[in-house]
């Protein structure tokens, strides 16, 4: 509704800004979280080293998979790739929203406790499957 009233240029700029902020907050979050002693291994190196190492790892793995995704798109059957990538968007958004709700004290955390990394991974894969099969049967041109 909100997006449909924006011009196409504005939508693109909004996406640029959103993903720019996400990247910046991702980096800051990784480094800041390294200073949280409850989440850092007792024998881990100093927080700065941990945060910067994880940030560099994120950059390397992120750029690597960007290249792999291009190869994948060029080699895959286009309909399959579109379903897979659209399903991935559903998966990422679902995981973000559910994880936020699950970890918030005022929402689900007080009843369900904190999610484990395995549960978050299961959430990611499960919602990818839901997205994939929904688009597979309903189509992606609607």
């Amino acid at each position: 509704m909100f997006l449909s009233k924006m011009s196409r240029d504005s939508q693109m700029r909004l996406a640029d800004i959103n993903f720019g902020l996400m990247g910046a907050f991702g980096m800051i979050g990784v480094i800041a979280d390294s200073f949280d002693s409850t989440q850092t291994l007792a024998n881990a190196p100093n927080p700065w080293l941990t945060g910067i190492s994880v940030s560099i790892l994120m950059l390397i793995v992120g750029f690597t998979f960007t290249r792999i995704a291009i190869l994948d798109r060029n080699q895959s059957e286009e309909y399959t790739f579109q379903i897979l990538s659209s399903g991935a968007v559903v998966s990422v958004m679902t995981t973000l929203v559910v994880t936020f709700a699950w970890t918030s004290d005022f929402l689900l955390s007080r009843w369900l406790g904190e999610p484990s990394s395995s549960q978050i991974l299961a959430l990611l894969l499960g919602s990818w499957s839901i997205g994939y099969f929904t688009y597979r049967f309903k189509g992606i041109a609607e």
Binding site: E77, E78, Y79, T80, Q82, K138, G139, I140, A141, E142
Partner: protein
């Protein structure tokens, strides 16, 4: 997006699988395009156009 793929395929007595082989896509993709569940990419649209020897606008209609 509406298209005449099913009609053009039937005129040549091709199955969806036959057309899929000609276009180098899956049979499911051909089915999805014919039923309007998938809008083909520009490269695939050109392949379809060349295969049937017709301009794109005679095969696809983007007016709803």
């Amino acid at each position: 997006m509406k298209n005449r793929l099913k009609v053009l395929r039937a005129e040549r007595d091709w199955s969806q699988a036959d057309l899929a082989v000609h276009l180098d896509v899956s049979r499911q993709a051909v089915n999805a395009i014919e039923t309007g569940k998938h809008d083909p990419s520009l490269p695939l649209t050109f392949r379809i156009s060349r295969l049937f020897g017709m301009p794109i606008e005679e095969i696809f209609d983007d007016r709803t």
